[in-house]
């Protein structure tokens, strides 16, 4: 063979060092990426944690296989590099080795399969009896959230109580969307004509980011939402505030805005409970628009500046927006902004 001695040792050590450095760099980047706002690896619910535990096992196994193959490829490349006077070993195979490396992948996938099947049985199983039901409906390009038991409807912001199982029923009004809040649950698609579901129990109070994860057309990238997990008291208070009907302002700019809301045809697509004329169901309900944190399908923060930009020309902000450019004047926008922010 002649492939022994210090040269061989150097090759092996070099391969291991390169592999170790590569894996170490990947690990650093991994840890860094897991600590980001929309991370998939910081579970904040029971079922997300269950999936993450499977993820951890599989990650370690996959990393070990990758490191092993990289190290072997490097080592063989260094050791068996052509040298004068060397002869290649003329062999066609080795049954024992081949049996070994058939069994090895079998064992590895078995180690991945068993925890997977356990987790899947729970995650896709029935939600607990005392779950709070939320219906999430996908529209091009925004999320609507209904609470059938509570009589509340909202958009782009999903409010939930902590430590109570949540059953999310998923539907779509147009094309396929996907409901994804990485820290709370893996994604499940919203398919027109089907009702899908997922459940999880959030275990931490906080704000979590969600985004549509199935390509759904022009503004797929802009279809986002936020999930707010509250203490039970805060959640109850939020529900109470949402149950109230909107008062129609009697005077000032907001009153002019209420009229403008009718005259510009906003009522054709939007519902404002308490405003008998506004009963449209094409766009999001606006009864408590002022209390929302996000605007335009979760695209931007709900601030006056963004709202003005939106009213000025919706499709310019969100490509393909179903809300058309109404060619509103600045005065009309002033009044509409005042009215919309009166809807707390």
């Amino acid at each position: 063979m002649g492939r022994s001695g210090p040269r061989r040792m150097i090759a092996i050590v070099l391969s291991l060092v390169i592999t170790a450095v590569t894996v170490w760099l990947m690990y650093i980047a991994f840890v860094d990426s897991a600590d980001t706002p929309q991370t998939t690896y910081q579970a904040m619910s029971d079922n997300a944690q269950l999936a993450q535990d499977v993820y951890t096992i599989i990650f370690i196994l996959a990393g070990a296989v990758m490191a092993g193959v990289i190290a072997l490829t490097l080592a063989f490349s260094f050791i068996y590099r052509e040298r004068p006077g060397q002869q290649a070993l003329q062999i066609h195979g080795n049954s024992k080795l081949e049996l070994l490396w058939t069994l090895l992948p079998v064992l590895i996938v078995a180690a991945m399969a068993v925890p997977t099947f356990n987790a899947i049985a729970v995650i896709t199983g029935d939600a607990p009896e005392d779950s709070l039901e939320v219906k999430a409906v996908g529209y091009q390009w925004w999320f609507q959230f209904q609470y059938p038991e509570l009589g509340v409807v909202t958009a782009s912001d999903l409010h939930l109580p902590v430590d109570r199982p949540i059953l999310v029923k998923l539907e779509s009004k147009d094309v396929i969307h996907s409901f994804w809040v990485p820290q709370l649950s893996g994604k499940v698609d919203m398919v027109p004509g089907h009702t899908n579901q997922l459940w999880f129990t959030p275990n931490t109070v906080g704000e979590f980011m969600g985004q549509c994860a199935e390509f759904c057309g022009l503004s797929h990238a802009n279809m986002r939402f936020r999930v707010f997990v509250h203490t039970q008291e805060d959640f109850d208070a939020w529900v109470q505030s949402q149950l109230a009907e909107a008062a129609t302002p009697e005077e000032g700019l907001a009153a002019a805005g209420a009229q403008q809301f009718t005259m510009s045809g906003c009522i054709g697509c939007h519902t404002v409970r308490g405003n008998a004329l506004a009963m449209g169901v094409i766009g999001p309900e606006l009864t408590h628009f002022g209390s929302r944190t996000r605007l335009a399908g979760g695209m931007v923060e709900n601030t006056e500046v963004e709202l003005r930009r939106w009213l000025k020309n919706p499709p310019a902000m969100k490509p393909g927006s179903i809300m058309p450019n109404l060619n509103l004047t600045d005065e009309q926008i002033d009044s509409l902004v005042a009215y919309l922010y009166s809807l707390q």
Binding site: I70, Y80, R81, L97, L104, P105, A113, V175, I176, S219
Partner: protein, 600 residues
Amino acid sequence: MATAVGSLSQPEDRSKIWEWMTTVDHKKIAALYGVTGFTFFLFAGIQALLIRTQLAVPNGTVLDADLYNQLFTTHALTMIFLAIMPLGASFFNYFIPLQIGARDVAFPRLNALGYWTFLVGGVMLTSSFFLGGAPDGGWFAYAPLTSTEYAPGKNLDFYTVSLLILGISSLMGALNFAVTIINMRAPGMLMMRLPVYMWMTLVVAFLLILSLPIITVALIQLYFDRNFSTHFFSPEAGGDPILWQHIFWLFGHPEVYVLILPSMGIVSEVLPVMSRKPLFGYSAIVFAGAAIGVLGFAVWAHHMFTTGLGTVPLIVFSASTMAIGVPTGIKIFNWLGTMWGGNIRFTTATYFAVSFIALFTIGGISGVMHASPAVDGQHQDSYFVVAHLHYVLFGGAIMGIFAGIFYWFPKMTGRFLDERMGKFTFWALFVGQNLTFFPMHFLGLAGMPRRIYTYDEGLGWETWNLVATGGSYIIALGVLVFLINFFKTMRQAPTAGDNPWDGGTLEWATSSPPPEHNFDVVPEVRDRDPLWYNRDHGIAAAPKPEHLHIHLPPPSYIPLVVAMGVALLGIGALSHIGVSVLGVAVIVYGVWAWALEPTE
């Protein structure tokens, strides 16, 4: 084509073009596939660069949403159907007859028709950019986003019609290749003496024969939904969008193996020759390849883990998907076994082949990761999957194709590609793709969804997106140097000789480039590596006979006529029925003339 002929004044040039248009020689058709496929590869690469440029920074403004959606859709369609598949078909065409010791493929005119039909489909798909808009619903074209309600333009009709035409082309090729390998082997070449590349080709041919009819049905259904108001996939009329996903992925997953198996075959040729030893575990590699092909039909629903399949289907398809990891693992270990104990020449081809092992492993193992539906809930439609599929298709398929180009270039042209430039290309591609695609794992981990034309700042996605974009430009540089290498090499004299790498398979038994009839005397095969057997047993090549009485099929323009009929049929399907009727008439005339054409 007609204008190209008319614009050339030199009679010999005209006859040269006519020669290429009427050729039925598998080597010339391979060259046509290769040049066309590589051109589309460059085109799809430019699309990728535009995509990466848009995503380099948050809230990018290089592309708008509409163009971005067209580009990510056509990038996939072009790479899959117009670059990797035809580049595979190019090698199949060139090396099936040469590796099995035949004079041509079984059906030479069908072979020509396959190429011209492919060209029609490719031009049609690409022309959509200039005729109102390219397909913009993703290469998977999920219903109901593809219905006329949500996609009123012609974009999706270009998708259905050109993919149907490309499907016809692939089907003709696949049947031809399967028949050739099964029936036209040289004396003594038993099935278990076939080169592994031939085995992988055979598996690919059967995958195509079995899977293309499935997508054909789906595309016709989609075309009918869009043009004749049927409701296969529209939920409001009782159709089901999930039905499309089942049919599409029943084709789509075997298609993945159509893309990767040829490169696995190439690597299985390059590694033993460069290591100067026989392939380790030949039968294990062959059976593993066949097992991947069979299992490939039993895993489609893993693309649909998030569609609400239910617990039992999730577990079944998770198990079958993980099972594919086993034959894949066997192959990887056998390639490593082939290197073990070798005396490895590190030519550019070797670099590509060896890097294939590691890069494909990364793509393969991340595939096993999202075979777990629990993990897939986070991976599906995120950048983690983009990373995974590019490790398989770039680190796997494309690196394999480059290994094949550098390995077989001396055989095809008689010239060596420049090794220094070749190694530069290798390092640029290797470094570039790892910079482009590995960070996408981190982006997926940080929750970045796929197919978004824009993203906000502050999500921790900025750094890795910028790195990925930088990497894509390094890839482009490597490809550019390859092009320079190609044109420079083609201007040199052919000096490679018959068997420059000391290969053991039959293509190395003839001259470089081979004569039109491939072999003066069809060699007799006594071993898996017949040339090594002859070398080690002192068996001299058969002397060249004084008179060659070899019958080769004459050139024919009829395949081109039939392909033009198919083009008219397709144009009619996108415009006016009258054009289609004309197309059918041309096809009928062509097939009639085909049947009556003298073959002497």
